[in-house]
């Protein structure tokens, strides 16, 4: 059973002091220091509680083995699954959704405010008031047209003719902007192109489709 020699009060105040250090860590502003004060100290705190409050140090040793086994299972889970979750592409596969989330999530310069706004009120992301073409593109278009707009999305190989390549100057030379906007709203068939291009009129109104066309033009590489 428990030892009465343990000074619980002392351990309690040690825990509070360690907590103060882990809160202070990020103020130093050095990443590795923060990691040590956050997770290193969490391990120390957890160990203090487990050893002294839960009295595991005077418990039968096989209880420790039993709990260690549970932790080992979690480590196995982590190392078994983490490579697939943490990497977003491999030799024969691409995790489009994860790549799109990363791309959508990191605000770049002037879009920072807009992105922060979209994050705070996600339900409004596609509404006209704060229409963000980039997010809409990634959600609805990138699957076929590719994250970079080159007509090379994961599903692109399933189509003949292939999805349009917005990076090619020839694409823009061959048609007027309002034709592209019409194709977006009413589908490829409406402009005599591939029927595989579905109509997105229920997602984008005319002004948004026009904004999307401007966004697509930015994919041009100038070549």
């Amino acid at each position: 059973m428990s030892e009465h020699k343990i000074n619980y009060t002392k351990i309690y105040f040690t825990l509070l002091a360690l907590l103060a250090v882990s809160v202070a860590g990020p103020f130093i502003g050095i990443q590795w220091v923060t990691l040590v004060t956050a997770f290193g100290i969490a391990l120390v705190k957890a160990n203090l509680v487990i050893q002294n409050f839960m009295h595991i140090r005077v418990e039968k040793s096989w209880i420790k083995w039993m709990l260690s086994f549970s932790i080992l299972m979690i480590l196995l889970l982590f190392y078994g699954v983490a490579p697939d979750v943490m990497r977003h592409e491999g030799q024969n596969w691409t995790n489009v959704a994860a790549q799109a989330a990363v791309e959508r999530g990191i605000p770049d310069g002037e879009h920072e405010e807009e992105a922060a706004h979209a994050e705070a009120e996600p339900a409004l992301a596609v509404e006209e008031s704060d229409f963000a073409a980039a997010g809409t593109y990634v959600t609805y278009c990138a699957f076929c047209h590719g994250v970079g707009g080159r007509g090379d999305g994961v599903a692109s190989s399933a189509f003949d003719p292939r999805p349009a390549d917005f990076g090619a100057a020839a694409f823009w030379d061959a048609r007027a902007d309002d034709q592209v906007a019409l194709a977006i709203r009413e589908g490829g068939a409406a402009v005599g192109r591939s029927e595989s291009m579905p109509p997105w009129g229920s997602v984008l109104d005319e002004a948004q489709a026009a904004a999307m066309v401007e966004y697509l033009k930015a994919f041009q590489t100038g070549g």
């Binding site: 825990l15 923060t34 839960m54 709990l67 549970s70 699954v81 990363v102 999530g105 990191i106 996600p122």
Partner: protein
């Protein structure tokens, strides 16, 4: 018929009182439940640098305050255990009620924190980070609620000097809930 306890309650083939053995089994499975969730969170967090932007919106001071509350409640729980070992059921019951007070404080603070976050649009469906935030903290809060309820029953018996060994058992569970929070705090509030 006289009331007798089941044989399993009083025997101890393993050298550990049956109740305490049961608690360790519960915790061995809890390790897998919380461990699986935290492992899943970690691998997604490492694969999604953009989550740092979402994590920047959690309030470190509220998290730290709740950590103090839980550490304090763990302290009162272990003091209750000490009192029970000395046969002082009344004191053990008082300390357990203090621990329940800590649990309620924790939940009230968490409720206010969530209300503020939800009103700013940071809901469970906002993005992956907030999904994990509410799932992990919510599962933890469910354990706090369960522990507080059980503690009330244990305290009621302990006040009459009955079933004092249960004070230690609920204490072990409570310290585990504390340990889970010790890890959730840096994961959700400090690493930004």
């Amino acid at each position: 018929m006289t009331m007798t306890k089941p044989i399993a309650t009083t025997r101890s083939a393993s050298g550990i009182p049956t109740g305490r053995l049961a608690i360790w089994w519960v915790l061995a499975s809890e390790v897998v439940i919380f461990g699986g969730l935290i492992a899943a969170y970690l691998m997604h967090r490492l694969g999604h640098p953009e989550w740092a932007d979402a994590a920047a919106h959690t309030n470190t001071w509220i998290g730290a305050f709740n950590t103090v509350v839980l550490l304090t409640s763990s302290f009162t729980a272990v003091m209750a255990h000490q009192a029970a070992e000395r046969g002082d059921g009344k004191k053990a019951a008082r300390l357990l009620l203090l621990t329940v007070g800590g649990a309620l404080t924790f939940l009230v603070v968490k409720g206010l924190e969530w209300r503020s976050e939800i009103s700013h649009g940071y809901t469970i469906t906002a993005n992956g980070f907030w999904s994990f935030y509410y799932t992990a903290a919510g599962l933890h809060a469910a354990h706090v609620i369960a522990g507080a309820i059980i503690m009330l029953f244990v305290a009621r018996d302990a006040a009459k000097n009955r079933e004092l060994h249960r004070v230690e058992l609920i204490g072990i569970y409570w310290h585990f809930v504390d340990v889970v929070w010790i890890f959730l705090f840096p994961l959700l509030y400090i690493a930004k």
